[in-house]
């Protein structure tokens, strides 16, 4: 559907993108994930046409669109701020692109009402100003406006970043539902790893203008290819050599070794644990409890499901079990 080949983007001397290669398949929910300034938005803007790459090609359905103007690419965009026109009603916002295409009034009306119904906007809401809508409703207007012209793909640039935590989760689910219903290829930009994992079919993790890894959420999380990806996705413990030797693990010294929090197990009775530790402190999250355990000269973070029975208190001695198969190792840089 969309194929980026050897894309380089330079702003003066600064190299924003270095040899980006991505292939987004038809109907896929593809996420560009990474910290601020990593190049994810630049890649998206290269696809939408706001930025022309210094070199490389952008193909859409096999056709080279690298130098095609923005308005002729047939790509819908949902902006970070939604960019809804404040002086127009919801109806006029959605109809904007259709009016430019010079469609007939009746056709515009039917298309607007049709898409509005699909994104769950009522006829009454269509007559309102965008400022009279809630954040969630505004998001739906932005999506409707982007979809109504029938784009081949839709690009979303951190559309949930301005919302509060609860609304974010709610809209995240709605977004995924809508994408499934419309079956439209979606490219999504975010810095929120939880958002990426829950929404995406495929994720590209960016760092300093390059893609560190492309894969489905499971591959990215459980089989992180680089230390950066492992660190960026989810929380992680770095295992110090002292701890490894205490645990009797003989791992290569030219590598850094990590383990995810939920892969460490804690038990009071089990004596088969390979390490002994003392609970330093705990954070109560309801669904689970996060423990900080002093083990072999370092603090390990551990997550345990809250079953209401096995709750450890600070100062308590526990057995810590690390399975060598869960350790992720990366060559030291």
């Amino acid at each position: 559907m969309i194929k980026l080949t050897n894309i380089f983007v330079k702003f003066g001397e600064f190299e924003a993108l270095k040899d980006i290669n991505v292939h987004v398949k038809e109907g896929q929910f593809f996420t560009f994930l990474g910290p601020s300034g990593c190049g994810k938005t630049t890649t998206l803007r290269t696809i939408t046409g706001f930025i022309e790459p210094t070199s490389g090609t952008v193909l859409m359905k096999g056709e080279d669109i690298t130098h095609v103007p923005i308005e002729k690419r047939n790509i819908g965009i949902v902006f970070q701020s939604y960019a809804l026109f404040p002086t127009m009603t919801v109806y006029d916002n959605i109809a904007f692109g259709l009016k430019i295409k010079k469609l007939g009034k009746a056709e515009i009306d039917s298309k607007v009402r049709d898409i509005a119904a699909k994104v769950d906007l009522s006829a009454e809401q269509l007559e309102k100003a965008v400022s009279q809508l809630s954040g969630g409703q505004q998001q739906r207007v932005a999506i409707a406006r982007a979809l109504v012209t029938g784009p081949a793909i839709i690009c979303m640039d951190e559309p949930l970043s301005n919302l509060d935590a609860k609304l974010r989760v709610q809209l995240r689910n709605e977004l995924k539902k809508m994408q499934r219903e419309f079956g439209i290829t979606t490219i999504y930009v975010t810095h929120d790893q939880e958002e990426a994992l829950t929404l995406s079919d495929c994720i590209a993790v960016f760092n300093k203008g390059v893609i560190e890894q492309i894969g489905n959420p499971n591959e990215i999380y459980n089989h992180s290819k680089t230390e950066f990806v492992a660190n960026f996705i989810g929380d992680i413990n770095k295992l110090e050599p002292v701890l490894l030797s205490a645990a009797g693990l003989n791992l290569p010294e030219d590598q850094n070794h990590f383990i995810r929090l939920e892969r460490i197990h804690v038990d009071r009775e089990n004596s088969s644990g390979n390490l002994e530790g003392v609970i330093e402190s705990q954070e109560y999250y309801g669904l689970y409890i996060k423990y900080y355990i002093r083990v072999g000269g370092q603090i390990l973070k551990v997550i345990e499901k809250n079953d209401g029975v096995r709750i450890y208190n600070p100062g308590e001695s526990v057995n810590v079990i690390i399975n060598p198969a869960d350790i992720m190792s990366y060559k030291k840089e």
């Binding site: 706001f50 923005i70 100003a129």
Partner: protein, 624 residues
Amino acid sequence: MNKNSSFDAGTILKIFGFVLFVYLFMGFMVLPCMNTLASIFTTRDVYGYPSPWAVVKFFLAGTMPLFVWNSLKLAVALVITVNIVGISIVLLTEYFDIKGANVLRMGYMTTLIYSGVALVTGYQFLYDSNGMMTTWLSQMFPMMNKQWFSGFNAVLFTMTFACTSNHALFLRNAIRGIDYNTVEAARNLGASPFKVLFKVVMPTLLPTLFSLTVMTFITGLCAMSAPTLLGYNSINPEIVRLAGSSAADESFPQARAALLSVILASFTIILLSVLNHYERKGHYLSVSKTKAKLVKQKINNPFWNIAAHVYAYILFVIYMTPVVMIILFSFQNYPAIRSKMLNFSDWTLINYFGTQNYEYMTSRGRLRTRVGSISGVFSNSDAVGGIRLSFIMSAIAAALACVIVVLAVSYIFKHRNKTRAFITESCLLFPWLLPTILICYSYRIFFNREVWYVFGNNLYWRENVRFLIVMAYTVTKLPFALRMIKAAFYAMDDELEEAAKNLGASPVYTFLKVKLPIILPSVLAVFALNFNALFTEYDMGATFQSSYGKTYAMIIQNMTMEEGREGYNINASGRRCASTVFIMIVSGIILYLVYGVGARDLGERLEARKRWKRRWARLRGIKE
């Protein structure tokens, strides 16, 4: 035409726009001012040799330094009085818990709709030696000097109250921006209310106060209508006098006027540079994530509480008396107005509409009749002519300033952070550095001959002067328009333009359908405020003094002078009062439209429309 052709329609339009902009900038900003400056250096001494020192020597030997000194004295005094009154009215209405604060605030803001020449003549009417207020005060205090309202005192008194509305408007915004949590924190740490005021509140207001002080100083320095009408020898009235004088009457009047203008400009430039430097250092920014609204402070000490209330209401009376009196007198007959005593049994609309004959007895005992000598403001050809001329010229200038600035800001915004954007912006801000009087005086002198730059026309000749006035109006309003419209442009979300582009809109379509509607409220507000200021503008009208360019303010000024002259214009003062009421209504409507209706967003407008529809349906008996 081929789109790739180097000379397509867009390029031609850009070149045309650039050439026009340079032509106007050179012709109506640079050349006239350079000519004024040059007139000092091309002055010839008694032997006919060029001698710039001749004018300087004459300047120092004569009474000229007195004008400069008087202007400085007025500016310094005005800074003190305006700050005292301005700060106190903001504290009384926004910070302290004073009973009736909303009514007080409205009273203090009356000079927003009652200003300029209308205010000066109104104060003169009430406070001069036989004015109603002075008569009343002298009855209460027999020792009082009945001539108190003249010269410096009169100018300072009038300008103090004329300037405080704007002063208070800005200061009010600053005080409303204070995070109340900081006040509570100080109180919690043991500070008394007055300690909080001086140690927490006032320091945060200092940057705004500094800006207001500089602007007030410049206002005092460049004062025109009050000194002219109330008789105070300061720089501006002297420049206007010299501009109308000739070498046959006195020594090098033009060069002296130019020198005074340059002195004024130097002061202005220095002060604005200081202000600019200070503003660049930045203001105090609230670091609060959850700012709390200021809660009014009770004055616990009964003595100070009563004193504050008394002071607040005395100020209210000072502000409101001229407004109320002028409104009442505008419905009075000429005998009541002449004697400056209200006659509650006889009211009339003659000062507004219609004409009457005036019958009077000559010294030889004959009864004479002057036909139509008593006329209302809307029946008097001079007044109507002045209103019409001012209306048209102000509307054209205000619109022109908006159009120029919108196009320029669009260009500046597109090329922001580039040298060309900086140059364009600087050109538009140029008039801000120069006193209005310098620009107008320069126009009057430079264009009062056949000038090659304007195709051999004399722009000061007959009706041409109206074009010159419109240009002066436009040029002087450019900086204000730029600051306001630029702020609106920069507040616009960049992504809106990208969204429109993505949906296939051309740049022109995007500008007309997306950007313009967003900035339109600001543009209309700028238009309305500029129109409001120009409609009764005095300084420029007085500088251009021409029978073909008699603006409304000049007509009002004439009304003060011509009353009852040999039975003509017998009710000129009444007409002036009616004119003032008319100005108040116009200004009030404009301010309501700008800050009331204009401030509503689309949602609020749709809600209002819905409410109207509901009311209309209810009126027609239709059930919802």
